[in-house]
Symmetry: C2
Subunit: 398 residues, 2 copies
């Protein structure tokens, strides 16, 4: 067979995480690899109630096509929530509903990227975003970071030297994979820079409501005076990923492009999922639900970090996340996390995600990402103990 | 603001249908414009039962992430149904679940099309497909058709003369928009030609189960010996569009690309929607449900065609569909259906979709598409009467 695919498919790789997750589904594996919410915290009973109500009250509407921009009452809830929690000032019509925020990453690539255009992102960055943008054949420059996120002097230098930068992709709150959060001063400086260069920004905020300590910080979107910031939200981490409901809030000129792209991509998000989520917001206390998540995940974060302190050998460092789902581990130079995983951790039935795929231009093989939201305390403790042994072995072999 | 979008966005237009649907949502409008199933036939009670069962029995799985390829029990049901009804020989692992079949149209464009590659399609063709492919900047050649679908001599001529044809997009059963079906002999000839040229084919089959008279014909996929046919199916027309569940069945080499594309596009289809659909297949008689649709839609088809015979003036022709949701009207030369709609039909509170957007290279302004699935008998009769008056006026003004 002589099938000829598009040139862009040469760039396409399956997500290392998704492939790895298949390996880690054996019940004996303690997996810190995914980014999955804890299923025992899903509001299953509420959803039984909500889905019955939606179908009984409005089944013929729920099962029918709806508009591309999405179900208006859900967009109203989400806009209000953003304004209450993130200091934004958006209305329902500023939002488009997407299949999780992942879908909007694809839309951003599609709307902005010609081949060889440049995308800026944090170093490291979310690999699902890198994969989504890659389909449109850009070049990436990953901006150096420190413990407070993207370094603004480095960003400005890159913008001065490159005129094909189409947008900047950032996760200022509890970043995936690093767990880092940008302080207020850095956010302000960032907005100054992007206003000066008039560069669109994708602000991805899947974990923002999952803060375990400290003050909430204003979103970049709330500081956006020029309509440059596209805010990506999702219900995947705070309610359920299985319903595939995310959204983007953006300036009208950009949102109009996303609307046309959404039409061609899959017409609309699920009508019934949108109506069920809106009904959940109507009838249940979302804040109380999220408070519970914060309590459990914050505790697990502490358990993991305490165990790392206890079991990880000297020379290994890791971030201290104030929220979100991840911490980021840096091994001594010379240890390859992919090899560590394959030869030591998986045989010990422990899994994580090696860090290299989070760097769009590769390298940094001595890093990995750890998720703490999806394992109970005792498994976290035991997994970190086993992982500590694996790392020790690897260090001894250096 | 100096936002610079990608070149491809110049090609992007909102679907004429989706924009039109907004105009036609006033209750007084008799709309033949959409392609919507009849909401009074949705199995709402069954879905209340099914969604309760899925959440009660398996809520934590239903609300969690699942695999990109989709929920295995649903893929098994769909594969079996294809084999039973379409004479194919596929297994669950040949299928990937998508958000309606629209999403796979986007994936096909993404997987195959470099800028200026050629897509072949029927003339006219489904405008949602044209829009989806357009994002990847191809050229289209629409192959001439007659009352039996694509004309094979014309197809072969085009393939001889063009070496950048990447795939052929066809709807052999009850085509959207024309309502035409390819007879068996033409299907065989088509497969001979595509086997000779080794050209991939997207066989879009949203309406295949909605046959109102005559024998079911084998799908192109069932005749595919070289793994060239990508079969696109959907539950939108036979169960519910609101759940956004479609699928593609394709050769492993192609399916692997779609899997990677799906990961980057939105990770996966809704877990809970997939489980609910699988449970519906488990617990309910899908065949009996579809038999009911056939009865109602087949009757409406007859009501519409009888009314057209009665009320449409001489010189207007239309197709006789054996199934599906649409008939295609050709007006006398010199009448522009867009003008007819705006100046005569909408003021009479009747709506349809003008035909030009169904031709990727434009023209054919004297055509339009009519849907008969979504209106009761009396409204069909009255709508066609009013439309007949509108057309008469337009002819008189010629």
């Amino acid at each position: 067979m002589a099938i000829k695919f598009a040139e862009r498919t040469n760039n396409m790789e399956g997500s290392a995480i998704r492939e790895l997750l298949k390996l880690t589904q054996k019940p004996e594996v303690i997996s810190f690899a995914g980014g999955m919410p804890a299923p025992e915290l899903f509001p299953v009973d509420a959803m039984i109630d909500v889905s019955k109500k939606v179908l009984e009250e409005n089944g013929r509407v729920a099962m029918q096509y709806t508009t591309t921009e999405g179900y208006a009452p859900l967009r109203e809830h989400l806009a209000k929530r953003m304004n209450d929690n993130l200091q934004t000032n958006v209305v329902a019509d500023d939002l488009l509903i997407t299949n999780g925020s992942q879908q909007c990453l694809d839309f951003i690539g599609k709307a902005f990227l010609d081949k060889d255009d440049i995308v800026l992102c944090e170093s490291p960055s979310y690999l699902g975003a890198i994969n989504a943008f890659n389909a449109y054949q850009p070049k990436f420059i990953d901006v150096p970071t420190d413990e407070n996120g993207m370094i603004m002097e480095e960003l400005e230098k890159i913008l001065e030297e490159n005129d094909r930068v189409k947008f900047i992709y950032v996760i200022p709150d509890f970043q995936n994979p690093s767990g880092r959060t940008w302080p207020l001063e850095r956010r302000k400086k960032f907005m100054e820079i992007i206003n000066k260069y008039e560069i669109p920004v994708a602000e991805d905020n899947p974990y923002g409501e999952l803060r375990y300590e400290g003050e909430y910080l204003p979103s970049l979107k709330s500081m956006d005076t020029k309509g440059l910031v596209m805010f990506l939200g999702t219900l995947s981490k705070v309610l359920s990923p299985g319903y595939r409901i995310g959204w983007v809030a953006a300036a009208p000129e950009i949102l109009a492009k996303f609307n046309v792209i959404k039409q061609a991509a899959d017409l609309q998000a699920s009508t019934i999922s949108q109506m069920e989520m809106a009904k959940f917001f109507d009838d249940y206390d979302v804040d109380a639900h999220i408070a519970k998540l914060r309590e459990v995940y914050g505790h697990r974060r502490t358990v993991m970090l305490d165990a790392m302190k206890k079991y990880f050998p000297e020379g290994v460092t890791y971030t201290y996340p104030n929220g979100g789902l991840f911490t980021w581990v840096i091994l001594p130079e010379g240890i390859d996390a992919t090899v560590l995983q394959k030869e030591k951790a998986l045989p010990n039935n422990v899994a994580f995600v090696p860090g290299e795929p989070f760097f769009p231009n590769g390298g940094h093989v001595n890093t990995f990402r750890m998720n703490y939201s999806n394992m109970p305390d005792d498994k976290i403790e035991e997994g970190i103990r086993l992982l500590g042994l694996s790392i020790k072995e690897a260090i001894d072999e250096l």
